[in-house]
Amino acid sequence: MSVLATALYLGPAALLYLGAGVVLLADLIHGRRAVTGLLTLVTLALAAVWAVLQIGGGAQGPILGGAIVVDSFSLYFTFLLTAVTAAVVVGTSEWAAKVEDRGEFYSLLLVSVGSMVLLVQSNDLITLFVALETTSLAQFILAGITRNERSSEAGLKYLLSGAVAAAVLLYGFAFLFGMAGTTSLPGIAEFVRHAGDGLRLPLILAFVFVAAGVGFKMAIFPFHAWVPDVYQGAPTPVGSYLSVASKAAGFAVVLRLFYTGLGGAGTPITHDWAMLFGVFAAASMLFGNVGALVQTNVKRILGYSSIAQAGNIAVGIAAVAAQGTVGPSGVLFFLGTYAATNLGAFLAVNAVSERLGSDEITSYAGLFKRAPMTAVVLSLCLASLTGLPPTAGFIAKVYIFNSAIQTGEVWLVGLVAIAVVNTAISAFYYLRWVRTMILDDPEDATPIETPGGAQGVLLLASAAVLFFGLWPAPLILLAQQAAAALLPA
């Protein structure tokens, strides 16, 4: 493989890192001018376009001795991550204008996205670990970026839990390496497929550590403790970025590790890890929903709701079919719709929270009268999070539950039963919030102006939520294609 081809494949990630440097320099030269935001946006857009061209152009395959693989799976996530980040940048430009360390904020954002892109392309334990840590380190700083106590505290808590999770993950990696004698994911898969029953127990031990380590990134129970605190303490733009991008990358890593790395279906341990994720899924949904029921702070509600949603997505990981990658395609589709939905919800909250003066749910009363568009978008996103038609969330849930039942396993039918009951529970707090916004009368009826950038992103997000609710076929096909790349052809 020529140097040029390698550069072509690595394009998006390299571009993002380069952009990070340029933004820092621009910040030094220009001081605090808007140019940093613009540069960030341009970088993200270029990377996204590059990914799209690669999807269309078919430039795919392993590079750098198999440490990195560019396939439809990694491209799907490359596009998703860059697009989401671009939306965050546009939607929160007004907030960013007030941040003292604006250049650092944008630069770290780009480093974090670039590393996530590398992360979803990793095909080797070492690359995967390094990319994971690089993006995490950037995120820890992002959580603590504003100069106040709460933000610093959120950053510290995020860092400490993240460091522990990394150590646990590495411990599992060490055992995988020790048994397989290689760090390449396909190599490990080869080993696992032919592992005898004697190695089952050590393998289980190894993947439990690995699952615990990545569970932190996915924010599933019981590795969720940081979520509500960080979402509440970190600035909302960072919270929205974490809840969408970081979570998507976490699920991408899990799929890579367990499908490409542990061989997917038909290995001696497939059933064991599928069960483990089933338990995680059920526990996350229960914990997240019950936790959200008693919250009155909207940011904490969103935090707990994202734990519950992670549980929904994990159903797709537990759904390991004998053939094909139906479960993972459900995860990918869900993540795609969830990105639009959750981003819409977070950015809407961000757009009005400062002027409402409080994050308590009661202060959202009558938002429909004060900021009609934002209220409608937020309601739509909440309906989508609940899984009500005609939004994308409905299709995503039905699709992922369907993939679980398609496997023909009895316990997965049980898991889906738990999941649907949880959907009913979640309706309670999501719709209570919707009702407060749409129907209650505001105490203070002064209109709230939503900044232009945020308005655009909100409209885009709600358009996506509705579009994929009414016409999901294209995205489903993309997700299926991408998921198919997880297993050797």
Binding site: F129, E133, L160, A163, V164, A167, Y171, A174, F177
Partner: protein
């Protein structure tokens, strides 16, 4: 030659001690030190496996190097945040850093 098991037991012990420290300690600094102990356990594991399982390839040793590098970065970052928090609040205890409820 020392059997592989000895290294694994040592690393498991270190990992356990580190994990206990994470759970039991309240000071951010001490939690960090505990995490470092866990990472050291991981590094021992990698080196032991690398030596015993594939003496010719270096991936295990490389991994250990990366672990050490990342650990250093993490500590540097954590100390920075702790210092800032300390300046604002005069404490390094995680417990007292509780404007957010756990």
């Amino acid at each position: 030659m020392i059997p592989l098991q000895n290294f694994l037991v040592l690393s498991a012990l270190l990992f356990g001690i580190g994990f206990y420290g994470v759970l039991a300690r309240r000071s951010a600094i001490l939690i960090l030190i505990s995490v470092e102990i866990m990472l050291a356990a991981v590094a021992i594991n990698f080196i032991a496996f690398a030596t015993y399982r594939d003496p010719k390839a270096f991936s295990g040793l490389v991994f250990a190097l990366f672990v050490i590098a990342v650990a250093a970065a993490e500590v540097g970052l954590a100390l920075g945040i702790v210092l800032r928090l300390f300046r604002e609040r005069r404490t390094a205890n995680v417990d007292e850093a509780s404007s957010l409820k756990w």
